[in-house]
């Protein structure tokens, strides 16, 4: 798949090993490429406010340990760890507003 800025050259789309010359929709051109989840990073899944942080750098974490409380949609969401590891850095502070996809906690 190629995207060009030259209006005389059409972008292309490859399907089943065949390369078609065709315009792209804006939605297609703007699509985000898939990236596998990094198990060392805890990302925010819903916008909200950090209400409590249970961990600090250096702390060893087991799967299921409470990491922090994220208030979103008027609910206190208990965020627990999906993995084992040691906390490298906490990227947020209590009271901070966070958005979807924002990095909250990083493991070593």
């Amino acid at each position: 798949m190629s995207e060009t800025t030259d209006p005389r050259v059409l972008p292309t789309l490859e399907i089943d090993d065949t390369v078609f010359e065709t315009h792209h929709t804006r939605k297609f051109a703007k699509r985000t490429r898939y990236a596998p989840r990094d198990p060392r990073k805890i990302l925010c899944f819903i916008p909200g406010i950090i209400r409590k942080i249970h961990v600090a750098p250096g702390r060893k974490i087991k799967r299921g340990d409470h990491l922090l409380i994220l208030e979103a949609m008027k609910m206190q969401n208990d965020i627990s760890s999906p993995e084992e590891g040691t906390v490298k850095r906490v990227h947020v502070a209590v009271g901070q507003m966070v958005t979807k996809g924002q990095l909250l906690i990083e493991f070593e």
Partner: protein, 514 residues
């Protein structure tokens, strides 16, 4: 009191409602390029055809000093009239009266006209311009919305329903348009969203303008919530008038017939398709060469442009056309295009409009985003819609018809009544490159010159399978036709299938993969 003074009193009372203009509110309305509710109805309906209902309805709210407030017509104008001679029921919310807010009586006026439309079997047009629920009326206002949604659903597939968004339409209110068949929006005037920019900012910390969140362009290009985009209200009304000529009054009637007109000269159907199957062309050039007066009313033009859907006439009779668009994303089916086409097919089936499907697609769009967005579920909608449809179904395969895409685009196997193919058609399980790479994988790998062997195998496969004759030999298509004969063949097929009746098994309703 003499009869004259009684008539004079009627005039006086009517004028108090219709002339009770809040000048400031009107100035604001005009400054935004918006017309008043009555002006809009006048502009849309045939001259002198409007009969207003419920002019003297008043709200009954006593809380919060509302008892002292007079709201002319309770903020909505309702009635019946004609468009190009076709009867319609119409309501128009009046933003100059309490911001067009919806209270119980406002809603009752709307539901009354909706009940009328269903009973009389005439299309319903709703002009939405409202700040939302009338907070002072509390839960009564919510009841009003619910009663409208219920009727929108009951009327679905019985009478055509058209929503025109000419102002804000926010919160629960947007679900009425969403339940109707066609949504019209106007640039810079229409605003639709469930939660507004203010709420999004306070709750989520995301800043966005009203226009970028739910303006006309967003809904015609990104969300697909709106079907028709216009630059002005007047242009919007012209689009609605045109649409009403293509659709029937209700599901028991056919759309009106018009005098047959040949396509405009200059549209050469045999010149549209490039020789190389990987080159694009605009499917609308094929449509223009097929239909009466080359006149095609495209629905959902700005959204999922890789499929084209809309209304046209063949020999004066309305048809619904669905065509893959090779000019955009090679005409693939994906989440949005399947959704778009499926909905259009169901409208046509509900309202006795024969379907013409023009096929040229390489298959489904590959990608993680597509799979994760549910292309299985959305793609299935199109299979469901075509299989379920019992109106005459005519299919023309122009060029590529590969794999699952071939099946989905109203193939014989989904109940097409006529399947024509052009000599340029390639009906196969997949494109020659992909097929050769799989079938001759080991031969290509073992060859001293893999590239040359691959090319040769692709050539062999192309010669053998990239044509309409394998499918023709199996009877999957009915005829291979010269492209120039297409209009004639379609007209013949329409005449032959005019009496088609297809009653499926008894059931309450199917369960489409919504």
């Amino acid at each position: 009191m003499s009869i004259f003074s009684k008539i004079a009193e009627l005039f006086k009372r009517s004028e108090t409602v219709t002339r009770a203009k809040d000048t400031k509110a009107y100035e604001k309305q005009y400054a935004m390029g918006k017309l008043g509710a009555r002006d809009r109805i006048q502009a849309l309906l045939d001259p002198d055809s409007f009969q207003e209902y419920d002019l003297f309805v008043e709200h009954r709210c006593k809380d919060f000093d509302m008892g002292k407030k007079q709201l002319p017509g309770d903020g909505v104008v309702t009635g019946t009239g004609t468009i190009e001679g076709h009867p319609v029921a119409i309501f128009a919310q009046d933003f100059t009266v309490a911001g067009g807010s919806l209270g119980l009586m406002h809603a009752r006026k709307i539901t009354k006209i909706m009940d009328h439309a269903i009973k009389l079997g005439i299309p319903l047009i709703g002009i939405n311009d409202s700040g939302g629920a009338r907070i002072q009326e509390g839960v009564d206002s919510l009841a009003g919305y619910g009663e409208i949604f219920y009727r929108n659903t009951r009327a679905s597939g019985v009478i055509p329903q058209i929503s025109v968004i000419l102002g804000p339409c926010a919160g629960g209110a947007v679900y009425s348009p969403a339940l109707t068949d066609f949504v019209f929006v106007v640039d810079k005037i229409s605003k639709m969203f469930i939660t507004g920019p203010e709420v999004i900012k306070t709750v989520l910390g995301e800043e966005i303008s009203m226009e970028d969140l739910g303006g006309a362009r967003v809904h015609t290009e990104t969300s697909g919530n709106a079907h028709f985009f216009a630059a002005s209200e007047i242009e919007c009304f012209a689009q609605i008038k045109k649409l009403t000529t293509f659709i029937p009054w209700n599901n028991r009637k056919k759309a009106d017939s018009y005098p047959a007109v040949p396509p405009k000269p200059g549209h050469r159907i045999d010149r549209v398709i490039p020789e190389q199957p990987t080159k694009p062309y605009d499917i609308r050039d094929v449509i223009a060469a097929l239909c009466d007066d080359s006149d095609f009313l495209e629905v959902h033009q700005g959204w999922a442009a890789n499929i084209v859907v809309g209304f046209a006439r063949l020999e004066g009779e309305t048809v619904g056309i669905v065509g893959n668009q090779p000019a955009v994303l090679a005409g693939v089916l994906d989440v949005d295009s399947s959704d778009k086409a499926a909905r259009f097919v169901r409208f046509c089936d509900s309202f006795n409009i024969p379907l013409i499907t023009l096929v040229d697609l390489p298959g489904y769009l590959p990608g993680v985003d597509q799979e994760h967005a549910g292309v299985i579920r959305h793609g299935a909608k199109l299979l469901y819609a075509y299989s379920e449809a019992t109106v005459p179904k005519l299919t023309v395969i122009l060029r590529k018809a590969y794999g699952g895409g071939y099946i989905a685009m109203c193939s014989r196997h989904l109940g097409a009544d006529f399947v024509f193919a052009w000599p340029t058609a390639e009906i196969a399980v997949m494109g020659p490159e992909g097929a050769a790479n799989i079938i001759f994988k080991s031969e290509i790998a073992a060859s001293p010159d893999p590239n040359e062997t691959r090319k040769q195998k692709v050539r062999e496969y192309t010669e053998k399978f990239a044509n309409p004759y394998v499918a023709a030999a199996a009877g999957h298509i009915d005829a291979v036709i010269n492209p120039e004969e297409t209009r004639g063949s379609l007209i013949h097929a329409l005449r032959i299938s005019a009496a088609k009746q297809d009653v499926g098994p008894v059931r309450k309703h199917g369960i489409p993969p919504f």
